[in-house]
């Protein structure tokens, strides 16, 4: 099969005026200069609005008495494609299965949200949050206490009024 070659017509140097294109560009610039309303977000004084379906660092939901909702079923470490969740299950003094160790390495996490999707008790969630800076790398391994302390809203993985995107 013969390859077809598209010949591009380039303006020749010295024979073309760029004035028209420059004026067209400047027109847009000046239009924004006098247009009402600004584009710049005054972060950090102003918080930008992010989508409710943004998938950020994790949140562990808790019961009213402060226990984590997690029952250590092991589905999130199983489904996690980045293998960033470490879980050791055990039994508390009330006979309930609970996570003795629950750690998420947020550096390893790819924020796919599958842990939230697979959780049978709606315990682990990805959160609507983007300010994650820390001074040390170790602080990015979130343990259970840290995950329960996170107070940002959790992600809506789907629209509740249209769960199947129909």
């Amino acid at each position: 099969m013969a390859a077809t070659v598209k010949v591009m017509r380039r303006p020749e140097a010295g024979k073309t005026s760029y004035l028209r294109a420059t004026l067209k560009g400047m027109q847009l610039t000046f239009k924004h200069l006098i247009r009402p309303g600004t584009v710049t977000v005054q972060y950090p004084e102003e918080e930008p609005e992010i989508s409710p379906r943004w998938r950020g660092t994790h949140v562990m939901e808790t019961h009213a008495d402060g226990r984590p909702k997690c029952v250590a079923c092991g589905l999130c470490p199983t489904v996690c494609p980045a293998n960033c969740i470490r879980l050791v299950g055990g039994e508390d003094d009330m006979g309930n299965r609970y996570p003795i160790v629950y750690e998420i390495d947020e550096f390893r996490c790819i924020f796919c949200g599958m842990c939230q999707e697979v959780c049978p008790v709606e315990a682990i969630h990805v959160g609507v949050h983007f300010e994650n800076a820390e001074y040390t790398r170790e602080r990015f391994v979130y343990d259970l206490d840290r995950l329960m302390e996170q107070d940002h809203p959790s992600t809506l993985l789907w629209d509740p009024s249209d769960p199947r995107s129909e």
Partner: protein, 540 residues
């Protein structure tokens, strides 16, 4: 089952359009299984009687007025069976819906999750959503004693556990109480199955998460476990087991069916002795004794000095082996001792006071010898010394002035001056005992869970095991360094693998001759010569 080839003993029937020929007396369920068609069932277990009460294995038999329970219906010539017809499938779906009417659906916190037959069957054929609007009855959980925990809500009333205790353990401790949907498994007395030596099997045969092991409770999910076929090393019965591991640790032992050795069962004594395979304080590198104690080096670093020292002259040799070592390691040790001019090789093994047979299958017995390879050691010409608890008997070795080789024995009852008089003291072990302090060379070896090899059980059945764990550091199977040393002495080439090391054991002991890893397979093979059973009977 008659297998004499006479025409009336063979039945040909059709199952789902496939013609099946099986011996007379086979049930439809077994015949279907023979052609790879697994009919769902709970109450039927190949090792127990079939009460046909779970109603899940109902199949359509042409000409029969209603569906037949395939686990107790014998095959007949010309029978036409449908397991996937609309009526059979509809019946299974209905039965499963009834099972779920009171099932708590607590799969996330249930230990059986992932290996649960109720989960499997409902996922395959059950209804997507339950229609029951009634509140579920709640029993909660009950401690059955021993290692067994009972979650009544999850029970499907297959009564396998009751029948195991009645028929196999012949120690009826469980029964069904109450009627209808209030019926439940219960113990007769407060102690439950406490002290019953085979009670752990009821956890294995429970198709759902009603009976779970306390030892394994919340420890690992079934789908995270790696399975390796192995042999129980805790007595000379040599039960076939499934070593279930995770994160390079043994999590639990489960019996692996072998009708010639342990059927479907194993004893609690063996089942719960696996922690030693997870011991952490291992020797990770070959150690060479210098002026300031032992120093870690590499394998050539320890083997080459021995080559030269062994070439110096023939000092008298004495060796102590452990009956936890494989046939391959013991044979390699025998070759090495022969190469050094020959000498006595002894082993010590603890013996229990009594045997613990399983009354329903007396061939399965917790044997008195609490080691896996006593028979193999004896076939290779080793002799037992010491007391019934596996100590003592080493007076001659203690003061031995020639070459001293210790393979795998922990030397727990000995002081750190053991082997001080020996001209060359080689210690091969997985842990460093105080009595190895005088060893010129310490070689790290793998345990049976970390290597490939064979054990010979009490009746002379050679059985293979496979590596389930990663050995630490430079630890190697004991046959490897021993064979290298022996090959150097004898001027032969060392075996290329465990399989060849086993074939060479056949050149030492005629009992092993002709056996290969391939012919042993996963089921084991008996050694050639007649051997004497503990009861004095002869078996060929």
């Amino acid at each position: 089952m008659g297998e004499n080839g006479q025409k009336q003993d063979i039945v040909t029937l059709t199952i789902d359009g496939r013609e099946v020929t099986v011996p007379k007396g086979t049930t439809i369920l077994q015949a279907a299984e023979a052609v790879g068609n697994r009919i769902p069932h709970y109450c039927y277990h190949p090792g127990l009687s079939a009460p046909a009460q779970c109603r899940l294995c109902l199949v359509e038999v042409e000409g029969a007025p209603k569906l037949a329970p395939s686990c107790i219906t014998d095959v007949q010539d010309g029978q036409v069976v449908h397991t996937e017809s609309a009526s059979a499938k509809g019946m299974r779906q209905g039965v499963l819906e009834f099972y779920l009417a009171n099932h708590p659906l607590d799969c996330p916190i249930c230990d059986q999750s992932g290996e649960c037959k109720l989960q499997d069957y409902v996922f395959e054929e059950g209804r997507k959503h339950g229609r029951s609007r009634e509140p579920k009855r709640v029993f909660g959980r009950d401690d059955f004693g021993g290692d067994v925990l009972f979650y009544g809500d999850r029970c499907v009333m297959c009564t396998r556990c009751v029948r195991f205790m009645d028929e196999m353990a012949q120690d009826p401790r469980l029964t069904v109480v109450e009627r209808g949907n209030r019926s439940i498994i219960d113990t007769f007395f407060e102690e439950g199955v406490e002290g019953a030596p085979y009670a752990g099997n009821i956890v294995d045969i429970c198709p759902v998460g009603a009976l779970v092991s306390k030892d394994f409770l919340h420890k690992a999910r079934a789908w995270d476990l790696d399975h390796t076929p192995s042999v129980c090393p805790n007595c000379s019965q040599g039960c076939n087991i499934d070593l279930q591991t995770r994160d390079n640790l043994v999590q639990r032992l489960k019996p692996r069916p072998n009708l010639d050795v342990n059927q479907y069962w194993m004893c609690d004594y063996g089942r719960h002795r696996y922690e030693w395979m997870n011991r952490g304080d291992r020797i990770e590198a070959p150690l060479q004794r210098g002026a300031g104690g032992h120093e870690a080096t590499d394998w050539p670093g320890v083997l080459e000095p021995i080559f030269t020292r062994m070439a110096d002259g023939a000092a008298p040799v004495r060796a102590l082996a452990s009956p936890f070592a494989s046939n391959e390691a013991l044979a390699a040790l025998v070759y090495l001792v022969q190469g050094l001019g020959g000498g006595e090789i002894v082993f010590r093994s603890p013996r229990a006071d009594e045997e613990i047979p399983l009354p329903g299958f007396p061939k399965l017995t917790r044997r008195r010898d609490l080691v896996p390879n006593r028979r193999g050691a004896e076939l290779l010409g080793l002799s037992r010394v010491g007391e019934e608890d596996g100590t003592g008997g080493l007076e001659e070795l203690k003061d031995h002035s020639g070459t001293l080789i210790v393979l795998g024995d922990d030397l727990t009852d000995l002081e750190s001056d053991f082997g001080a008089h020996a001209s060359l003291y080689l210690y091969l072990g997985s842990h460093f005992p105080p009595a190895a302090a005088e060893a010129d060379v310490v070689m790290p070896i793998t345990t049976h869970a970390e290597e490939e090899g064979t054990f010979t059980n009490y009746e002379g059945r050679v059985q293979r095991f496979w590596p389930a764990l990663q050995g630490p550091g430079a630890a190697r199977p004991a046959w490897l360094p021993l064979s290298l040393l022996a090959a150097h002495l004898n001027g032969t080439t060392p075996p290329s693998g465990a399989d060849e090391a086993f074939v060479r054991a056949g050149e030492l002991a005629p009992e092993f001759q002709g056996l290969t890893y391939e012919s042993i397979g996963t089921r084991g093979a008996l050694v050639n010569e007649p051997v004497t059973l503990p009861g004095g009977k002869l078996r060929s």
